[in-house]
């Protein structure tokens, strides 16, 4: 859709908050993608003679309590934290879309599926994630599983509600009248027309997931130390908040900027893709 896409991009570029969000998130993404180039030292290497160094050379942001280079840990942390966030988005996005499509399209399955989703949503998000991650054991993969379980119902709800609207559209009736099979209708009509709110929601889930990952790591149920994740860095830095506040501050700021950037980006997408979606998020 060349004409349509161009108009969309133009409206997005005029949306100042969206552009701000893209820049913020883009910066964080650049850290993660180019971590190998940006890092000045191995993130787990301890320079024991240079503990608690302030910003300067050869440690741009200083070092931590083990003499590890904070900048290098931050950029590799970006890779892991954003990677986990992205994996959560992919898994929860796919699982939630499948559940939402099926529940919304085949009304017979709606009650059982959505009540199961409600059951999952009855738990506070972060508590459930902690419980699952703790049960599975601390690792990056388990953090992804835990967070995906938490965010799948939210995705499913969004998708189901749009599917309920789209399935009643007359072009779906028309396809039925031609003798289209369910598969065809779901994949060619319902899914493409249900994507806009989903994409918006996924940017928010990305933000929550990065935040939640740092919480899991902070509580020790994420990827275990000395793996550099932002949560681990905050957890390790918290013991030295008085003496060396920068240890926890850098990763904290990184998490905050990522979440902020994604939220602005999502708001912008929502405004442009589907203005009717202006609702409060939890």
């Amino acid at each position: 859709m060349p004409g349509k896409a161009r108009g969309l991009v133009r409206r997005l570029l005029r949306h100042r908050l969206f552009v701000t969000g893209v820049i913020l998130f883009g910066l964080m993404l650049a850290l993660a993608v180019f971590a190998d180039l940006l890092a000045v030292a191995a993130p787990e290497r301890m320079h024991t003679r240079f503990r608690f160094r302030g910003p300067g050379w050869p440690f741009p942001l200083g070092t931590d309590n083990f003499g590890r280079d904070l900048w290098s840990r931050l950029v590799y942390g970006a890779r892991l934290s954003l990677g986990i966030g992205f994996a959560v988005v992919v898994v929860a996005g796919i699982a939630g879309t499948v559940v939402g499509l099926v529940a919304g399209y085949f009304r017979r399955l709606d009650e059982p599926l959505m009540r199961a989703m409600d059951a999952l949503m009855a738990f506070p998000a972060i508590l459930l994630a902690i419980a699952i991650a703790a049960a599975l054991g601390p690792s990056a993969v388990n953090a992804v599983i835990a967070l995906a379980v938490v965010y799948t119902p939210r995705t499913a709800r969004i998708v189901r509600s749009t599917v309920l609207v789209v399935r009643e559209m007359e072009y779906v009736q028309a396809a039925l009248a031609f003798g289209a099979r369910h598969r065809w209708i779901i994949l060619r009509h319902i899914l493409p027309n249900s994507l806009a709110p989903l994409i918006v929601q996924l940017t928010f889930i990305f933000a929550y997931a990065v935040l939640a990952e740092s919480i899991l790591s902070f509580l020790g149920v994420g990827p275990p130390p000395p793996t550099p994740t932002w949560g681990n860095m905050i957890a390790e830095g918290k013991d030295y908040l008085r003496e060396a506040p920068l240890l926890a501050l850098y990763p904290g700021i990184a998490v905050m900027l990522t979440a902020l950037g994604l939220n602005l980006l999502g708001d912008g997408l929502r405004d442009v893709l589907d203005p009717r979606l202006r609702v409060q998020h939890d």
Binding site: K4, E170, Q173, A174, F178, G179, R181, P192
Partner: protein, 326 residues
């Protein structure tokens, strides 16, 4: 309707939508009798207009013919073959023969598909031809409905309502059907465009021998397109007659009222008295006896007690009214 079976024969068609109450134990407390026993036939190449106020069940009837809505009871025979009761797969080959044109030219085209994709969709669903065949057919269809070839790569939002309706018609023609259900195809269009679309439909009917089940909410538009007219009220047909006869000598009081409501393009003509008063009653609790008696100026005691049957009073003219003598 003698000799060969009609293209479409509908008999005793009913649709009752259940009204349920209760949270844990859903129980049915009633039913909306959207369509309550409808019979009609459509011959090949003929136009039967189904006319009535909104809520009378005409749209539901049209959708049941196409099995887009599952009938509660009754029979739909197409070219002699019973369609009700067929499962989805058995129904598919029949779907090629009967198509639908929708009222809303905005909602009936998928906004994320190009015109070429929209027109080729029915062909792809039925696996007709290869890519090149389909491209040729799309070009043919665009030409048939009077749209330039260059429009094939555009999206629906780039078209006006009238152009979209042309696309809807082109899509309905893609599989060369024999019957098209036209569900108020011009109600959503500007008056100036309505005539163009009506003319297009008539041209196509002549060229391809199409039969139309033409659903409309007033008798004005129908006057041009229909061969026969069936008037529906609250889920039942109250009168059916060849067009000329219906317009010249309507027998059912409801038809008379509808005809009186058709605007006459003559500023000096005396305004017809408002024959109909009140609202159409709820189909969830239709009045007993003749459904129309609550609004009928001639109602007698019998109308309140006894449902009038649809009886033939002359060749092809059927009326459901106790007061009409055979």
């Amino acid at each position: 309707m003698t000799g060969a079976p009609p293209l479409l024969a509908v008999a005793g068609l009913k649709k009752h939508f259940p009204i349920t109450r209760g949270v844990l134990r859903r129980r049915q407390v009633g039913a909306v009798r959207a369509v309550d026993g409808v019979d009609f036939t459509v011959a090949a190449g003929e136009t039967l207009a189904l006319v009535g106020e909104s809520g009378c069940g005409k749209t539901t009837t049209g959708r049941m013919v196409l099995r887009l809505i599952e009938p509660t009871a009754g029979s739909v025979r197409f070219a002699g073959e019973e369609l009700t009761g067929l499962d989805v797969e058995a129904l598919r080959p029949h779907r090629r023969e009967m198509q639908i044109i929708f009222q809303d030219p905005y909602g009936s085209l998928d906004p994320r598909m190009t015109v070429a994709e929209i027109l080729a969709e029915p062909l792809r669903i039925h696996g007709v031809g290869d890519r090149a065949d389909r491209r040729r057919r799309v070009a043919e269809l665009l030409a048939l409905v009077g749209l330039p070839q260059a429009h094939a790569q555009r999206y629906p939002h780039e078209f006006s309502g009238g152009q979209r309706q042309r696309l809807g018609i082109a899509r309905a023609l893609a599989l060369r059907p024999k019957l098209i259900v036209c569900d108020e195809p011009v109600s959503a269009l500007d008056v100036s465009i309505q005539a163009q679309i009506i003319n297009l439909l008539e041209d196509l009917q002549r060229d391809f021998g199409l039969a139309y089940l033409f659903i409309a909410h007033d008798l004005g538009v129908v006057k041009h397109v229909a061969d026969r007219v069936a008037v529906m009220y609250l889920g039942r047909i109250v009168e059916e007659a060849p067009k000329r006869r219906l317009y010249a000598a309507p027998r059912h009081p409801y038809t008379q009222a509808l005809l009186a409501a058709v605007p006459v393009p003559d500023p000096l003509a005396r305004k017809a008295p408002a024959v109909l008063s009140g609202e159409i009653p709820s189909p969830a609790s239709p009045p007993p006896g003749c459904h129309f008696h609550t609004r009928c100026p001639h109602a007698i005691a019998r109308c309140r007690a006894e449902t009038p049957a649809l009886r033939g009073i002359a060749d092809g003219h059927r009326v459901a009214c106790h007061l009409v003598a055979a």
